[in-house]
């Protein structure tokens, strides 16, 4: 997570175990039907089978995926600037309260859904 030269203070709030998140990788797009936007909406249901295979239900689609361990784990950091907001000049000069980052979560695994989704057909006409 170090993309600059300076050492960065990373804080860990809850010692021991920060929350673990999971990346979800979908091959495709999640679209809102009524163009309301996805924000706040429920995407779908994530289930696991008995064998541990993740199953995602989105709309009338069912997706089977798998859990993959990331080669390079991610940490989700929240930046806490030591400076009062608005004064950017002091960022470099005054270092009485250094900028700190708080680890809010770690991402070690991800779920990949890359197979073609299967439609769930509920309405089967008796005779086509």
């Amino acid at each position: 997570v170090s993309d600059c030269d300076r050492p960065v203070l990373v804080l860990c709030d809850s010692p021991g175990s920060p929350a673990e998140w999971m990346l979800m990788e979908l091959q495709g797009e999640v679209v809102s039907r009524q163009n309301i936007g996805l924000a706040g909406g429920q995407m779908g249901d994530l289930h696991y089978t008995k064998e541990g295979i993740p199953v995602l239900l989105i709309g009338h689609h069912i997706l089977y995926g798998k859990v993959v361990k990331l080669e390079k784990p991610f940490a989700v950091l929240v930046k806490h600037s030591g400076l009062p907001e608005g004064t950017e000049d002091d960022m470099e000069t005054g270092e009485e309260k250094p900028t700190s980052y708080q680890v809010s979560a770690l991402i070690k695994r991800k779920i990949i859904f890359k197979t073609r989704p299967k439609p769930i057909i509920t309405n089967v006409p008796k005779k086509v």
Binding site: E29, V31, L38, Q42, H61, R116, P125
Partner: protein
């Protein structure tokens, strides 16, 4: 034209063009022929003009003897004239199968076209396309006054149609004279009638019919007069009764005479072939080597049949062998590498015997064309080797059981009634006519293994005991099979196991010797030349030679000479040739057989003379050609195939008429033949079948050329037929599911002729190559209409994989081929994407319609569903329906609900879903039935606001940068 040493070339051109011709000969022969005609007996009246016209126009007086030598064709005519027998004349006309017309005319053509068949009788000469009869090389013709400037008969090029003569003048120019037929109607009709008579189209010739009618009239008149006289007599006197008595006496005498003749005939009835068939090995006419081989093979059986030891027969064979081997050794030195057929045969004969002391090949198979003496050879050799010949004819005994029985009888039993008990030798004649099953029986007999004998050891006594007990014993008798065609499919198996002897042609010298012996014994005079000619004519067929001799003898001829043999068409075999050779003969002019003519002219005239003779005989040559083709076609029998072959090949012949009249006539003939065969096969009117061989004859006259034709096998009929079938199937498949409103107005015919070609254009509108969602409303409307049209006509696109691995969308059913001509460019096609889209839309539309239909079928249920608010679903599901089981009801409910859910989205599940927990709680609170449904089908299914669009391809390809701040 010119007279030089008696040679006259008689042209049928207008005499004006050749003044010398008038001076030299053209006038004279006419008067001369008139004399002859008058000299001929009145019974010959129809034949007389023919004879006259065929006379060489020459200044010679007509001495019959000298004429015979030069113009053999006329001998018969003059011979007829000398011995006029009404009965024989009729017979000649039939048997000779020559056109009466032919002798006088240069050409015999079938009627130009069937339509004016009757009309054309009178004007036939004008229509005749003459074939080329090239008589170039007449040196004398150079001096002839060749050109009569105004006349058009002297041509620079060979005339497109008709006979012509090519002439080279003194300055080296080559010109051509067209030959025209004389236009004399009366003679034509007469000779035409003759020709019809000889063809046997009428069962009774028209002349006879006329004679009968005339006779009947005459009788009526006579009766009438008799009655009148009787009336008179009865009144006048009764003393004339004696006359009646005399008449009856005479009648009795006549009857006795007839009876005597009959008796005589019956005594003659025994066939000479049987009478003079060879009795001993030495009398055999067939090839010596073949005879010897068969005998040697038969002798190989001696050990197992007679128990004789090898040395005994070795001694006999060795003598023959030693001579032969010496001679063979010489040959072997010459060609060491390859084994000749003879050597192979020898090797077979010297091979070791098998475990049962039998030769390696248990069956001898004699093959060769008929009349070579195969059967005779088999019989004589078997008798010679001490066997009792049992003959069976495989083409008669066709059933397998009978075949088996007879084989077993012949090979396992022995005659006990005869004076000396000889072992049997089975001769199976005409085995190529036997069915395959029968031949398999024969093979099984050959390969039968005597297993028990092996176990017991080879005790002679024991084996004989067993033989009696067991039905299935090993074959111990020789079998000789005889066939004409070695390569019949049924014989394939047998061929590998048989000792095959192919009969070569009988040597003509031997045959002639035998024939002369026979004729001498029967008191016939026959010179060697005549007999040679007979042999040649019959292809050295012994049987037909002898039969012909007997026939001639029976007809009262005590003398046979060459010309008689030549002019006879008896003794010809009814052999059918392959279709290709028939086609070839139809399209090719026959070679002029100069050699034979030369043989006939024993005086040894010059070549030019020969050709002069050939020219004047030309007419009869044409007639012979016609007869030959007729015979050929009728003996082939496969008119259907024959006609097809002619149809496919006649246009590739070298046609020499620029106005294509010949082609037109040929097509007329084809049409006529088609009508004919339709009439024949539809109405079972088989008497018309006899007209069918005239098509090949007509084609021969129209299209025959000198060069070798290249014949291709007719396929187009079959191809067209199968294509038609295919097209019909496609159309039927299309019509089967076409919308009823269309179906009511379209049949196969209208579909293929009117609708399809336009329809295919209609279903190819110009669609923008973009996503259909981007279409304008007008375009969308267009698409909907297109899909509606295609559905109405039961058309769709189907993905198809070409052999190269390409994917294509093709019309299903593929009616494009129905309305497309091969030569035209293919019609415009939609793009792959467009077709794909259309296919998908069609599927969707189909589903939609099916659904609509389903809903239309049970509207009341739907209505109740809509009326009821979802909350009342619980009581409804719990509503007491005692006869319906609980789980059934629930399932039904689920399906119904799901079906309804898709429709009224807004009123039921339309609100935006916030959280899962809320949703669950809401649904649980909503109704228990719903709660039961949800775990099964997922609550969000079909109703959620969010849906997932899958991107095709590899996941790497659609990877997108996502910032973590977006996620937080």
């Amino acid at each position: 034209l010119l007279s030089d040493g008696g040679l006259v070339v008689y042209f049928r051109t207008k005499p004006q063009s050749f003044e010398e011709a008038i001076a030299a000969g053209d006038v004279l022969p006419k008067s001369q022929s008139a004399v002859q005609a008058s000299a001929a007996s009145p019974a010959l009246s129809p034949a007389a003009p023919r004879a006259a016209r065929s006379q060489p126009a020459g200044p010679l007086p007509p001495p019959p003897a000298s004429e015979e030598n030069w113009f053999p064709e006329h001998l018969l005519d003059s011979g007829e004239a000398q011995t006029p027998k009404p009965k024989r004349r009729r017979h000649d006309a039939v048997k000779k199968l020559t056109f009466g017309l032919a002798d006088g005319e240069d050409d015999i053509t079938p009627p130009s076209s069937p339509e004016d068949y009757c009309k054309s009788r009178d004007r036939r000469p004008q229509l005749q396309p003459h074939n080329a009869l090239d008589v170039s090389g007449l040196a004398e013709l150079q001096e002839s006054p060749r050109r009569d400037a105004a006349r058009r008969q002297v041509l620079r090029r060979p005339p497109p149609a008709g006979d012509y003569i090519s002439i080279t003048d003194s300055s080296g120019n080559r010109v051509y004279l067209a030959m025209k037929a004389e236009e004399s109607g009366t003679v034509n009709t007469l000779s035409l009638r003759n020709s019809h008579q000889s063809l046997g189209l009428l069962s009774v010739p028209i002349e006879q019919l006329r004679e009968q009618v005339a006779e009947r009239r005459h009788l009526q008149v006579v009766e009438e007069s008799q009655r009148l006289t009787e009336l008179l007599n009865s009144r006048i006197d009764q003393a004339f009764g004696e006359v009646d008595g005399k008449e009856t006496e005479e009648r009795i005498e006549e009857e006795e005479g007839e009876g005597g003749e009959e008796h005589q005939e019956s005594s003659v009835s025994r066939l000479w072939v049987d009478k003079f068939s060879p009795r001993h090995f030495t009398e055999l006419l067939s090839d010596d080597f073949t005879n010897r081989c068969l005998l040697k093979w038969l002798k190989l059986w001696d050990k197992v049949v007679f128990g004789r030891e090898k040395p005994v027969k070795k001694a006999i064979v060795a003598a023959v062998d030693s001579r032969q081997s010496l001679w063979q050794q010489k040959e072997q030195q010459q060609n060491q590498r390859f084994k000749t057929k003879t050597q192979i045969t020898e090797e077979i004969l010297e091979a070791e015997l098998d475990q049962y002391n039998r030769p390696k090949y248990k069956v001898a198979l004699l093959c060769g064309p008929p009349g070579l003496g195969k059967t005779t050879l088999a019989h004589i050799i078997a008798r010679h080797a001490g066997y009792n010949v049992v003959e069976m004819n495989a083409s008669d005994d066709r059933s397998v059981e009978l075949f088996q029985k007879r084989i077993d009888t012949a090979t396992q039993m022995k005659s006990v009634l005869g004076v000396d008990e000889k072992p049997n030798c089975l001769v199976i004649d005409e085995i190529d006519g036997a069915p395959t099953a029968a031949i398999n029986v024969l093979l099984a007999t050959l390969n039968r293994k005597d297993t028990r004998q092996e176990d017991a050891g080879s005790g002679a006594a024991a084996s004989t005991l067993k033989k009696k007990k067991k039905k299935e014993s090993v074959l111990q008798r020789p079998i000789i099979c005889i066939c004409n065609d070695l390569y019949v499919p049924a014989l394939r198996q047998l061929r590998q196991q048989a000792f095959i002897l192919t009969f070569p042609q009988t040597q003509p010298s031997r045959l002639v010797q035998r024939l002369s012996e026979i004729s001498r014994r029967q008191g016939m005079k026959a010179d060697t030349g005549a007999l040679m000619a007979l042999c040649e004519k019959t292809d050295n067929d012994i049987r037909s030679c002898i039969n012909t001799l007997q026939f001639l003898h029976g007809r009262g001829r005590k003398q046979v000479d060459q010309r008689m043999v030549q002019s006879m068409s008896i003794g010809l075999k009814d052999q059918n040739k392959g279709l290709f050779s028939v086609w070839q003969e139809i399209f090719q002019l026959p070679r002029v057989k100069r050699k034979r003519v030369g043989q006939e002219l024993s005086l040894g005239l010059e070549e030019g003379h020969l050709q002069g003779a050939g020219d004047s005989v030309g007419g009869s040559v044409n007639a012979q050609r016609l007869q030959h083709i007729l015979h050929l076609a009728s003996s082939t029998g496969e008119y259907e195939k024959l006609t097809q072959g002619l149809y496919e090949n006649f246009l590739s012949m070298k046609l020499k008429d620029p106005s294509l009249q010949g082609v037109c006539r040929g097509l007329d003939w084809l049409g006529f033949t088609d009508m004919l065969s339709e009439t024949v096969f539809r109405g079972q009117n088989f008497s018309l079948l006899r007209y069918l061989p005239f098509l090949p004859a007509a084609f021969h006259m129209f299209f025959a050329a000198n060069n070798v034709p290249r014949i291709t096998y007719p396929n187009s009929q079959y191809e067209a037929q199968s294509r038609k079938q295919q097209t019909e199937n496609v159309l039927i498949a299309m019509l089967a599911e076409v919308h009823p409103s269309v179906r009511s107005r379209s049949c196969l015919h209208t579909l293929s002729l009117d609708i399809l070609s336009l329809l295919l254009d209609i279903i190819c509108p110009r669609l923008r190559p973009v996503n259909p969602q981007l279409y304008s409303t007008r375009e969308k409307q267009q698409l909907v209409e297109l899909i509606d049209t295609m559905l109405t006509y039961n058309l769709t696109y189907r993905q198809d994989r070409t052999p190269e691995g390409q994917y294509l969308y093709v019309l299903e059913p593929n009616v494009e081929g129905v309305v497309r001509f091969h030569t035209l460019p293919p019609r415009r096609q939609l793009t792959y994407q467009a077709k794909q889209m259309i296919a998908r839309e069609i599927e969707v539309e189909k589903l939609r319609r099916a659904e609509a239909m389903l809903q239309a079928r049970n509207p009341p249920q739907k209505q109740t569903k809509e009326m009821e608010p979802p909350k009342s679903a619980a009581p409804k599901s719990a509503a007491p329906k005692p006869e319906m089981r609980n789980h059934q009801q629930r399932l039904e409910n689920i399906v119904k609900q799901a079906a309804v859910e898709t429709r009224p989205e807004l009123d039921f599940f339309g609100r935006t879903v916030t959280t899962k927990g809320k949703m669950v709680s809401a649904t649980t609170s909503a109704d228990p039935a719903k709660a039961a449904v949800e775990p099964q089908i997922g609550k969000a299914v079909g109703s959620s606001d969010v849906w997932f669009r899958f991107n095709e391809g590899v996941s790497n390809a659609v990877r997108r940068n996502i910032y973590i701040k977006d996620l937080l």
